[in-house]
């Protein structure tokens, strides 16, 4: 093959060589020029390659530097605590909020993030915060309390009244990038000057003078290291370190060194010193928390001292700068000795460079490391609530954006309520187990607490270990709701005031329904008795099953299901008669949505955990506005609520009469299922709606009724949070009448046991009960006389 192709190749070659021969002679003569050209070409080639390479690096650098530089975690915040005169809040609660915000208790300072307390007066130096609706400035304020209320909020410097102040919101969770890098971005002007001086003293003295590389600095560092016989100073400039952190792996090769140098020069060529310094301060790796990498000085400041950069002392600044050299080797919690030595060296260098005086240096060196004992956890203390937040965010945001775009998410969580609820729930479950001889940790619970009128979720408990981010019973456990369904049955009946009032007499007599398949259906009462004729209200108050089933069948299952849907139930429900007694599986969260419509006088508000989302620059992306829907007639809701209030006075939840403060009126309903597997209570005050479920994960009986289990937890929590007594506005078309419960007819003061009942105007009975004619009834007369005596 080579042979055959030779002739063809040769001919052109020969002819070419002929021409070239002549030229060659010429070239020979001009040989210096020829070499010059070759060298030139090589140089051109080399330079072009270098330029192309540099251009490539340049693109890389600018892309990284100007584009989105860091994948930032989303930060989730609790509701900010509002402070205003006449607010229901104790000094103790405010102090707890300040502790959650990591304020330091300190007497003589006006530094932000500090407070002091003298009895009923708390003086706060707030940090200020950028909210989605504007900035709340840092402020010195004095908050006075009396009788469980805020009596005044004043400017601590001039005593002038401050109308309304918002503290910063407590951070409750971060949604981390997949690579688990965590950081808090800061602008250069938010960084204390001393930190920059310290950094320069140790890492790069001539930072503002060199152009990316610093040969004098390198020489000096080598000399210093020789003198000290160990590496005390690095030779890389801050720019080089930034490049290394930004783009390069940890390999120690010449190629990397060259790349680093070129990129450092390019970086300096494109960007100002301040821009580079700011990037450095945000990028630098300063610690590790399990899988989470701590980057940047601002996060490191939180991680080691639980305070902001601007709240750091000199020695704390020095420690952070000391960590640059080796965050793991100098880890101050594990190696305090090494860390202190390195910190003191930084302080020495700062003094040597005249950034601090000798006295300040000595004082700083004499002080302890002052890192907090345990690193603040990167995992949320409220995983159940955060799961709800993520569920609701998932409707509008991609998972990847949540992990990387640095979104700031403002939620409705009230950490004070949450913490109190957790504490009360845990204690009560232990007590119940002890009293009932149940094994320890046998019982489980779920709690949902929301604002009655706003539908905001204030607290959420997914299990008895609230810190454990596992099965979230509040959202995911679906259990039969039992009698919790009954208010909807009664509401549907009362929607038709011509047919049903609270005084309508219902039959509580045996009932058997033939079913298409299976056995006939014969509901029974809990006490296995039948109660004859009972007032509609009392059938709900005492939770009679038979009369409720009869009522529901008469009203029609379809109407009840339609109301369930209007009240916010989204899952399909089959129209089986057993639905009337709660044979429908719902989560505590779904039950909350249903009861929300009742608690809010018939206006449905979707339960929501998110108020607003802003981007990493603080620009509002989305607000979740308050949206109402009229779900059920407010008059029927008023009547049902009156009956549910009676449940808590003399019905199945009457233990509340001594479990709650006497002046605190509430309304609610108990629920118990098959063989005491599920214990429920759902109820509300004027301000808070709370649904509690107690049971066992394996669905075995717990031996608890709604009253003996969930209601106890409910009462403990309701008692521990500040809330207002039920005070429903009476609709115009409702009026109260005194009724004789035996006959359901109009009563008067002569009727023993007569009860006040609300009616939709025009629907009240017209007939007088026999007791009103019983003028000769001496018992009643005597009673009346006594009553007059005490009035």
């Amino acid at each position: 093959m080579a042979k055959s192709s030779q002739p063809r190749l040769r001919a052109p070659k020969r002819s070419k060589s002929k021409r070239r021969a002549g030229k060659r002679r010429n070239i020979k003569r001009k040989s210096p020029r020829r070499w010059g050209r070759l060298a030139f070409a090589i140089i051109i080639l080399g330079v072009s390659a270098a330029i192309i390479y540099a251009a490539f690096l340049d693109v890389e650098i600018r892309r990284q530097f100007e584009g989105k530089r860091w994948a930032l975690p989303a930060r989730v915040f609790a509701r900010p605590l509002e402070l205003y005169a006449d607010q229901e809040l104790t000094a103790q609660a405010l102090e707890q909020e300040l502790r959650l915000l990591r304020y330091r208790k300190s007497e003589r300072t006006a530094a932000t993030g500090t407070y002091s307390r003298h009895g009923q007066r708390i003086t706060i130096n707030s940090r200020g915060f950028m909210f989605w609706d504007g900035e709340e400035p840092a402020q010195g304020m004095r908050v006075d309390f009396s009788d469980g209320r805020v009596s005044g909020v004043r400017d601590s410097s001039d005593g002038s009244e401050l109308g309304l102040v918002r503290l910063e919101p407590v951070p409750i969770a971060n949604i981390y990038p997949t690579h688990k890098e965590d950081r808090i971005l800061v602008q250069l002007d938010q960084v204390p000057q001393l930190l920059i001086y310290a950094l320069m003293s140790v890492e790069d003295r001539r930072f503002y003078d060199h152009n990316g590389l610093d040969f004098t600095g390198l020489a000096r560092a080598m000399l210093a290291n020789l003198k000290a016989r160990r590496a005390v100073q690095g030779g890389s400039t801050l720019t080089q370190q930034l490049v290394k952190n930004f783009f390069l792996s940890n390999e120690r090769t010449l190629r990397r060194k060259v790349n680093e140098a070129i990129m450092a020069l390019l970086l300096e060529w494109h960007y100002s010193k301040d821009e580079i310094l700011q990037a450095y301060i945000n990028e630098i790796y300063l610690g590790q928390d399990g899988q989470r990498a701590i980057h940047g000085f601002a996060l490191a400041s939180q991680f080691y001292f639980e305070r902001g950069l601007n709240e750091l002392q000199t020695e704390q600044i020095a420690l952070l700068v000391a960590l640059v050299k080796g965050p793991s080797y100098y880890e101050p919690r594990r190696h305090p000795q090494r860390a202190k030595q390195r910190r003191d060296l930084v302080l020495d260098l700062m003094e040597k460079n005249k950034f601090i005086g000798p006295v300040e240096a000595a004082q700083a060196k004499a002080s302890a490391l002052s890192v907090t004992r345990a690193a603040p956890s990167g995992t949320t203390p409220f995983p159940a609530f955060v799961q709800l937040v993520r569920q609701q965010l998932a409707r509008d945001y991609q998972e990847e954006d949540l992990r990387s775009e640095g979104l700031v998410i403002f939620t409705s969580l009230d950490p004070l309520t949450q913490v109190k609820a957790e504490r009360a729930m845990k204690k009560r479950l232990q007590d119940l187990e002890r009293q009932r001889g149940l094994a320890q940790d046998e019982l489980q619970a779920a709690v949902v607490i929301s604002g009655v009128d706003t539908g905001e979720v204030l607290a959420l408990i997914g299990g008895r270990d609230p810190q454990y981010a596992g099965f979230n019973r509040a959202l995911e456990a679906q259990r039969p709701v039992g009698s919790l369904i009954k208010p909807v049955v009664y509401l549907t009946a009362l929607n038709n005031p011509r047919d049903y009032t609270l005084a309508t007499l219902l039959d509580d007599e045996p009932l058997t329904l033939a079913a298409a398949s299976d056995q006939p259906w014969s509901p029974e009462n809990y006490d296995h008795e039948y109660h004859g004729q009972v007032m509609l209200r009392d059938a709900l108050v005492y939770s009679y099953n038979v009369s409720t089933a009869r009522l529901g069948l008469a009203v029609g299952l379809e109407g009840i299901i339609a109301n369930l849907q209007r009240m916010g139930l989204t899952r399909p429900v089959e129209p089986y008669p057993s639905l009337l007694l709660g044979a429908v599986d719902l989560s505590p969260f779904e039950v909350s949505q249903l009861y929300q419509s009742i608690a809010a006088s018939g206006y449905r508000v979707p339960l929501s955990a998110i108020r607003a989302v802003v981007d990493s620059e603080g620009r509002p992306l989305q607000r979740y506005p308050l949206k109402l829907e009229k779900a059920v007639d407010p008059a029927s809701v008023y009547l049902v609520t009156a009956a549910m209030h009676e449940v808590t006075r003399q019905g199945t939840a009457r233990s509340l009469q001594y479990d709650l403060p006497q002046q605190l009126k509430v309304a609610g309903k108990t629920g118990t299922t098959n063989e005491l597997r599920d214990s429920w209570f759902a109820g509300f005050s004027d301000e808070h709606l709370m649904v509690v479920w107690v049971g066992r994960d394996n669905n075995q009986p717990s031996g608890l009724t709604g009253s003996s289990g969930a209601l106890r937890v409910w009462a403990d929590i309701m008692r521990s949070i500040p809330t207002r007594s039920l005070n429903m506005e009476m609709p115009d078309n409702v009026e109260w009448q005194l009724i004789d419960p035996l006959t359901g007819l109009l009563a008067d003061d002569y009727c023993a046991g007569a009860q006040w009942l609300p009616f939709v105007k025009g629907s009240q009975p017209v007939e007088q009960a026999p007791c009103t004619h019983d003028l000769g009834g001496t018992v009643n007369k005597t009673l009346k006389w006594f009553k007059g005596l005490f009035n």
């Binding site: 039969p480 108050v541 089986y576 009724t705 005194l738 419960p741």
Partner: protein, 159 residues
């Protein structure tokens, strides 16, 4: 009867997943234990609308400023903040209704005005303004009959 109950529990199907009957107490029997008639309704029947708190007034003013400068959602954010602070005060609800009306959301406007009304017992001025909002909202929705009804209500109020 008890055996039937056991049977039912034994063969609990999706239809007959029967909830256990509720623990209940028999109602007090008036004959056996004579008691006094209840002195008054257990829930209050009348309520005075308290004057809005200073905090609420401050937020309403903030919302007004935002509204005048065309930042309607910022105005809404401030009004919702007021609602959270004083959910039983009819005024923030009314301002929110007014704002939604200006934004053309007639349905929300009417619902919010109704909600405000449900809290406004005895506050003639607030109720009057709410009915005006309702009338305007209905007109915006094209519900002329409904608007006329609301206006009739307004005239009744003025009588």
């Amino acid at each position: 009867m008890f055996s039937l109950l056991l049977l039912l529990q034994g063969c609990a199907s999706s239809i007959y997943n029967l909830p256990e009957p509720e623990p209940s107490m028999p109602p007090p029997l008036p004959e056996a234990t004579p008691s006094l008639p209840q002195a008054e309704p257990p829930l209050s029947t009348q309520k005075q609308v308290a004057a809005p708190s200073k905090a609420v007034v401050a937020l309403l003013a903030k919302a007004d400023n935002a509204r005048h400068s065309g930042q309607l959602e910022l105005a809404a954010a401030n009004l919702e903040r007021a609602v959270r602070i004083a959910p039983k005060d009819p005024l923030p609800w009314q301002r929110l209704a007014q704002l939604r009306l200006e934004q053309g959301d007639a349905r929300q406007a009417e619902t919010l005005a109704n909600k405000s009304n449900s809290l406004a017992a005895g506050s003639h001025g607030i109720i009057r303004r709410n009915w005006q909002i309702i009338a305007e909202a209905r007109r915006l929705e094209g519900d002329t009959q409904g608007a006329l009804r609301a206006e009739r209500k307004l005239r009744e109020l003025d009588l």
